[in-house]
Symmetry: C2
Subunit: 172 residues, 2 copies
Amino acid sequence: MAKRPADPISASAPAARQVPMRDFSRSLPMSLLRAREAVMRQFRPSLREHGLTEQQWRILRALAAIEAAEVTELARTAFLLGPSLSRILRDLEARNLIERRTAKADQRRSMVSISKEGVKLMASVAPSSEAIYAEITRRFGARKLAELQEMLAELERSLAELGASDEASAEE
Amino acid sequence: MAKRPADPISASAPAARQVPMRDFSRSLPMSLLRAREAVMRQFRPSLREHGLTEQQWRILRALAAIEAAEVTELARTAFLLGPSLSRILRDLEARNLIERRTAKADQRRSMVSISKEGVKLMASVAPSSEAIYAEITRRFGARKLAELQEMLAELERSLAELGASDEASAEE
DNA sequence: CGGAGATGCTTAACATGTTAAGTGAATGCG
DNA sequence: CGCATTCACTTAACATGTTAAGCATCTCCG
């Protein structure tokens, strides 16, 4: 371990290295980011061929699994923020991949569902998508993949309560 | 593709599930995305207080560790694409947090380094950032954290050759 | 009733992700 | 040399992430 003389900011040094933080390439956020990018890099070309972005694909998949959903529910399922979802739904609707109608009970809510065309598009993308996922599983190992997912889920649980309230040195 | 028989799925009928994919909320990309978001949610408020985005912070951290770097090298270290980095460097330079000058040997390259002000800003952010990281480590467990990072690194390695089939062989 | 507040969604504004094209400076090769 | 090619960025264009505001609609309570 490189030990370091405790001297935060010496007023005239050559400007760098006074703040001894962990090597940030090994920080958890970076690890997660790089891993995710390594995975998504496999899928993007195939999605792109079909004229879909990653997020549009997430929405179609979410909708295919449930008959219809409110926008807020869909946002939670596809893990998208409201504003992003709003824009994407507008575009997907213009492409006739989804359908939308306001609920009769509550005029504020709008119900979203996948269209016939949307289902067709999914059917054309799914095979190559599944093949890629299978190849990733084969390379990394099915058992290790399951372990990894479990650890990720537990990480989420560990931090679930933390984010709800405010944190160190909140506002000002 | 083969024409398909009358589609049983219509806009008003229940069930649009003829493509049986995995529950996508358990897909690897989603797991990684959610885990990363759970982590970043802890850091964003603190960074925001200091007027920094996550990416700007990555760049400052990278620069603090290495005197000076070319833009391309910095992009690799901070895991940012060229265009994003270009914009961010422009902004950070306008805020006097970094300095930039073109190399004499090769007029195409520009050397970037953190400024005195940048170092000061880092020093003001680092403590709370480290505290948050420590809390995350405490909650999840230091050992498990190390295991997780190792698995993520291995996942990266597993997929390294796959996505870059014709351009792999120039790394140290 | 009725208006204050909550709710569901959209727009706005700014920053980044992503791909493609542009620009000026080196390099290779005839 | 001459010049096409490569290289190191930068710009451009479009899509999403992120926060704050805006706008209807709905709920609740006096």
